[in-house]
């Protein structure tokens, strides 16, 4: 049955409003990153401005952003890989042996406010001379991404039929062999989903790096604050910095949209 004409008009208008509300601010941010600070202050130049890459030159050269981009990439990549290595077998076990209570412990990490762990972490890791290093940053980001991997992959393994594993056992594989050679290759979509989400959450994480990083190891979300002074804000530089942080992750998300959506909505429809 086709929707009534009145509804179709309403839907088009509503969709345009939704899309504009969600996209226009991002476009505005990107536009401002190509303006001089003088143009940003001039309402008449809102859209009609002569673009400059001066802000990006400033961000990438003076503000050492290349270093922070590398830091962010390295921390997010390492935390994601480590979370998959620890998380995949754990999620598999928890799914196959129905370990509800153990799963709850891991999921607690998603519920607890990060601040309540940061003081003890800071104490322990500064005694180990690790504060300001990459190790502690990766560990703290894993605290976010590991529960995510376990949560998504438990649902994925639950939905995977066990017949193929059983057939592999009949053919003489060990359980671990069956997991490695049969289950994991079959789980590639789930692994991609949880890996991508884990990367995004780590890339976007702010609070842990704010406390645990130092001038050399800080990640992009912390480095953004370099452009916020007490007296004034360098808006052009700031918007270039925020664009450098957000644009790559948005572009990645577009290419792997299917996985991002299935990860964010994981477990939502099981009831």
């Amino acid at each position: 049955m086709r929707p009534r004409p009145a509804y179709r008009v309403f839907r088009v208008v509503a969709l345009i409003v939704v899309v504009l509300t969600l996209v226009a601010p991002l476009v505005w941010m990107i536009a401002a990153s190509f303006k001089t600070n003088v143009d940003i202050y001039d309402p008449a130049k809102a859209l009609a401005f002569s673009p400059t890459i001066g802000n990006y030159a400033k961000v990438l050269q003076q503000a050492n952003y290349v270093e922070f981009i590398v830091n962010s990439l390295w921390v997010a990549f390492a935390a994601t890989v480590a979370s998959l290595v620890l998380g995949l077998p754990a999620a598999y076990s928890m799914s196959r042996f129905n370990m509800k209570k153990s799963a709850l412990v891991v999921l607690m990490a998603r519920v607890i406010p990060g601040v309540s762990l940061l003081v003890p972490w800071f104490y322990v890791f500064s005694n180990l001379k690790m504060v300001g290093g990459f190790g502690v940053l990766i560990i703290s980001h894993m605290f976010v991404s590991l529960p995510l991997v376990v949560y998504i992959m438990m649902g994925y393994f639950d939905s995977l039929p066990t017949e193929l594993e059983e057939a592999a056992l009949v053919d003489g594989l060990t359980h671990i062999g069956a997991f490695r050679r049969i289950t994991l290759p079959l789980s590639m979509p789930g692994i991609a989903t949880s890996g991508i989400l884990s990367f995004i959450f780590s890339w976007n994480n702010f609070m842990f790096a704010l406390v645990l990083s130092d001038a050399d190891t800080k990640t992009l979300p912390v480095a953004i604050f370099d452009f916020v002074g007490y007296a004034s804000i360098d808006w052009g530089g700031l918007m270039a910095a925020t664009t450098v942080v957000t644009l790559p992750i948005m572009v990645i998300a577009l290419f792997v949209q299917k996985y991002v959506v299935s990860g964010l909505t994981a477990g939502a429809t099981k009831g």
Partner: protein, 313 residues
Amino acid sequence: MATITTKAARGTPTAPGTPGWVRWVDHHRKWIFAAPAMTFVAALLVFPLAWTGYLSLTDAEGSVRAESEFIGLQNYLDVLSDTERFWPSVGRTAAFTGVALLFEVVLGMAIALLLWRPFKGQKWVRVAVLLPLVATPVAVGMMWRLIFDPNIGLANQLLGWFGIGPQPWLAGQYTALPTTIFIDVWQWTPMVALILLAGLTSLSDEPQEAARIDGASTWQRFRHVTLPLLAPTLTVAILLRGIDALKTFDILYATKGRGGGSFHEVETLNVYAYGLSFDYNEYGVSSTVLILFFLIIIGAMWALTARRKEAKR
């Protein structure tokens, strides 16, 4: 054949000549698989949480290495009778979470319903919906800080077109919290919409058709067919978003800085506890606030899941 399958499923490696240690590992795979992840989480979670619990009973301050004394429940008495910072931040946390969640659920439901049935260009709308929620929250906060700037921001320019005078937005003592709620709604409504859309897509068409044949109006079908079927998904969405909304930190810190602004206008419990810990080094008091905060989160979750179980019955 059948006997072999049962034997295999019960968990003995079947290949002859498998080394003993491989058999042992395989037999104990349940815990060998789960232990590393669980140890990792437990080490970073249980022990620090216990420590925070202990710190809340001491007068620890200054340096984490400084001597501290056990003072029992004194911090709890102080914090719970603190009407200057603690209770206002409880109120702000509740207001922020409650109002943001309400808008996110209502708007998210509306967007999910708009996207439910296929139409031309749906792919592009889904892309637009995805963008805000993958954007880095601190950067989102900075972006809105420019748009809401009282002097040069786009928001006041737009209002000017409609003849409305400039608003202080983030800079105003009473407008800051609503403005941060708006930012949260902008960023996270898409998440609620996507979860609800996944729920809608998984619904079967039959009840809808049946209701249509019975002559139910669009609203009646939504209210009496779609909504009840969607209830479990809705609870999950509220639970996931609610927990994160309670813990909101990034956009508040990005827009208002330390202490939630000079009048603490957006100081929620998380921001307050962060400031106590890392700006004032009041570890004892901050631990007390955090334990209370944690109890509030657990309480809210418990209330929601209890309702969900009741609804299932």
